[in-house]
Symmetry: D2
Subunit: 333 residues, 4 copies
Amino acid sequence: MKFFSLPRPGAELVLAERDVPEPGPGQVLVRLRGWAVNARDLMILKGFYPKPVKPDVIPLSDGAGEVVAVGDGVRAWTTGDRVAATYFPDWLAGPGTPEKTVDDLGGTLDGVLAEYAVFAEDALVAIPAHLGYAEAATLPSAGVTAWRAVVEEGRLTPGQTVLTLGSGGLSTFALQFAALGGAHVVSTSGSDEKLERLRALGAAETLNHATTPEWGAAVAGLTGGGVDHVVDVGGGGTIGQSMLAARYGGHVSVAGVLTHEGAADPILVLVKQLTLRGLTNASRETFQAMNTAIERTGLKPVIDRRFAFDEVAGAFAHLESRTHIGKIVLESA
Amino acid sequence: MKFFSLPRPGAELVLAERDVPEPGPGQVLVRLRGWAVNARDLMILKGFYPKPVKPDVIPLSDGAGEVVAVGDGVRAWTTGDRVAATYFPDWLAGPGTPEKTVDDLGGTLDGVLAEYAVFAEDALVAIPAHLGYAEAATLPSAGVTAWRAVVEEGRLTPGQTVLTLGSGGLSTFALQFAALGGAHVVSTSGSDEKLERLRALGAAETLNHATTPEWGAAVAGLTGGGVDHVVDVGGGGTIGQSMLAARYGGHVSVAGVLTHEGAADPILVLVKQLTLRGLTNASRETFQAMNTAIERTGLKPVIDRRFAFDEVAGAFAHLESRTHIGKIVLESA
Amino acid sequence: MKFFSLPRPGAELVLAERDVPEPGPGQVLVRLRGWAVNARDLMILKGFYPKPVKPDVIPLSDGAGEVVAVGDGVRAWTTGDRVAATYFPDWLAGPGTPEKTVDDLGGTLDGVLAEYAVFAEDALVAIPAHLGYAEAATLPSAGVTAWRAVVEEGRLTPGQTVLTLGSGGLSTFALQFAALGGAHVVSTSGSDEKLERLRALGAAETLNHATTPEWGAAVAGLTGGGVDHVVDVGGGGTIGQSMLAARYGGHVSVAGVLTHEGAADPILVLVKQLTLRGLTNASRETFQAMNTAIERTGLKPVIDRRFAFDEVAGAFAHLESRTHIGKIVLESA
Amino acid sequence: MKFFSLPRPGAELVLAERDVPEPGPGQVLVRLRGWAVNARDLMILKGFYPKPVKPDVIPLSDGAGEVVAVGDGVRAWTTGDRVAATYFPDWLAGPGTPEKTVDDLGGTLDGVLAEYAVFAEDALVAIPAHLGYAEAATLPSAGVTAWRAVVEEGRLTPGQTVLTLGSGGLSTFALQFAALGGAHVVSTSGSDEKLERLRALGAAETLNHATTPEWGAAVAGLTGGGVDHVVDVGGGGTIGQSMLAARYGGHVSVAGVLTHEGAADPILVLVKQLTLRGLTNASRETFQAMNTAIERTGLKPVIDRRFAFDEVAGAFAHLESRTHIGKIVLESA
């Protein structure tokens, strides 16, 4: 089997071959067929990721494939099952804890950028029947985090207003989930072309943040005083505008930011009675609840471009160019 | 102005005329243009309503119209505003209490079956801009109760399953709100024709309870073990089947039932870890939140048939025939 | 090692000996030192339990002891750790599901009425440091269920009113947890002597249900219209009075009842806008949260009488006599 | 009657006399007997308050007294009733909105620093029977805000850990409410003498922030990784340490801060998955729920020093000296 590894942060990815692993007791061997790249993976490659990374790590957390063998005692899966791996293998259910989130695929643990990988039986979920492997590979990071922000913690109700920032994977999922729940979605982007695409995906209103740098107040103006919920993925640099865009008593999900830039001014938190909530990925049960909703509603993830497995460098380059809408994936035949 | 009154429960409605009232301090005079009839109004007329009714009551809780005059000190409304009255005039916000719910329009207080009526300033809500008066008149009872059941207390999330019973006003609103929130809706009816109509309104699956009297188990079978949420409006006679239709840990909203028939078997509540929640109407803030959602999404209430103001007897006869889908309304030119 | 088993429901318990088991991979061997008996165990013995029971089951779900050996790969426990087993070994976290609750100790699985037993690594919790083994053995059934009813789902706040019924283990835990959370607790019993003891445990008010058979209305009278929360353990026979004792909008936890007697009248659920919630045991995370609270506050379970391991028949006889307050336990030196 | 007014921010308070006002329709005349001063009042006096203040405002939001006359149509109150005024007269129930919170006593509206004042019927609450007027006067600002932080939004459960900062009125109430709810409270102060007093009030652990300037990490160390809930009243200067003191997934209530100093670093919000929630005062229903709890539990507010009505300057000077524990009040015979 072929696999990529990263000798050390900042180095080049190395493509190599080794034997297909055998699943041990309680383990499942998956032939991976689809993968997705994330900003976090790019930070790991470049050495900017602020959390621990295993030496010679196999990168990427997001992959989907087919069960090809199961170890002793495995009851949940059988050959041919279509599955995706969970971002935090130890976070099965309930609220997050340091213990449940200490290990993450493609970080402290080997990830999925390989033709085959073994996973613990309970570190997998069944993928929606109507999605291909590459589509399903978009779910573990961007999908689950957006679901947690908008649905699980956002407790979105129909008719509420939701603001999404930009056209990255997490934001397009947040847009789709909010629209699915009957929300009035406002989306920003720096490109009018992308704004048009976001409207096609369900955004009721859009705003070009390049031509309207004071977009926080502009969004508040568009929505009668501010939105109920902001899904902020923009790093520290956007939190101030996000707080201006939120209504009195509104919520700001702080997701995806890994920078010390910018800061939340406590007086705005207080005067507007805001709730700021930091959130990353979520539990396997959250992933399963999202998959149920995706399957029942037939929702399709937004894929920007598809690369072959060994074109991963091109996928990262495309991600870095920031010209995409939705997810960038790899797939094998 | 013309108005109807009910000399005593069980009597005939009397049509009479009197002077248009003047709004006192803090009051608003509304020219009513649309009305809706409810099963509760029918019970009052027939003398079966188990709660107190004022002698010579002007019937009906559900009406919408136009502000034509305001009393001293009224700040919230001005002539020409389009409004509906709230079912419980004293329930402005927060959880219900005996004090907030002691008085109800068309019950302990005069209702809206008149060409004009005065209301306290804070016992009105603005109606959605895209709805006519007769459409808006469907909202105060059936709409608000369905919203409370499905959205406010049901905390519906996209992809959840919701069961609605029959094609009455409350159930069709529950169907519409659930579909709006991305739910997978299962609806029952005793008529295949109506089931077709319910599918057109957004039901993903339907079931004829006349041909499948054990519909509780059938719904559980259709939905992989039971629905997340049942909106039960069927009186005591349906609660047992509803509990069978709910999933382990599911919710059953008990709404609209005013009969001692049937009973909830505690062992089923326990073994399936169910939550049963009784609910009637809700606060003015809930009504406003629903209206915001209706306006933002353009949702249209389902109207079965329209009668003129003085054809109210015909409207009640049609309601009693139980052949309708959605709401039966009155309107004036 | 000695152990008891039940050849079949309705038979006598058999005391026998066998080799101490060895822990397999991921398993932990515990030397049990304390046990508690529950009404559910009595039902299993007598053959009245409505759920499946394994042939030749080792009875009892509630036990605590000391880790004496661990199998391969066990990371969470080490020799000497003081632990209790969880009632549902597969319910680790999150909401309950049929899958998580299908197996229960002393029911579908062998229980703890033995000198030694092996458990899966994640089917154990650490017990509070200030409790002896017999004290800790009171926690898995009565403690966890009461915690779920009062704290986790009851969302008790200081100053709320809570009603507990009788002096059994679940009710005394509910009383203690409610008092710990600053609630005003009303407790009933059929004996004035027990009522005095319940006051000493923290009940602010008590009521003799033998001399006041209409205790529902009486409790409502004592508490200005009804209590916020009833923890009903009385089987179907008490649900009607419990609903009368609850305030408008109040909650009734239906716990511990396994009888078809009595029934919840839907009209009362509706008119009083009640929430009825069926609940049994809970997840391991709930057990751990309760233990943290017990340890931090130094709470002591109420033990009625202590028996030796081989006096289990006496313990069941005492339980059946219904003269106890709190829990009946076994302990070994 | 005597009353104080503030000609303009930054000026001296002026003591004057005028006729006792008459209550209009729906109004209540209260003879005030107890008052409390708050940091916000001091900011108003000194001209540092960032929100609008009425010219010639009668200062202070916090007062309690006796109903001496009622206007036409008042149903809720009668002569002799013991009452306190609500901070936001228009916030009766439900979540806060800009409309409900635009007017505040002693800010945009005349406050209570007078021997008599009239209030709208629904801008008053009954005070707990066991409290004197000066004690009850501590409740409207510090009490209600602490209750909202700890109980209503904090959803405190027994055994959780709560951190309070310093010995001001809001923090001592937060300490008392948390202890009442069975929490393990950690309190800081810059004085060992005060720490001793805080322990007497129920703090389980204390920490001198003067001698331990890195108290955030120290609190995390004391509590096994951080507290569940921080009630931060320290202005921007403490938010960073508060976030360090919170556990993974913990809550930080940002209350009482009206300064642009300091800032919440988004990366800490994200990495620790924190929730930051800004909150000020709350609704009348929240005030009533707190009073019910205070009355049922007999809780006594902490009063540092009592001044006479016309010694208000001394009370402010004492507040400014920051040597107090709990509240500083005025009272009249």
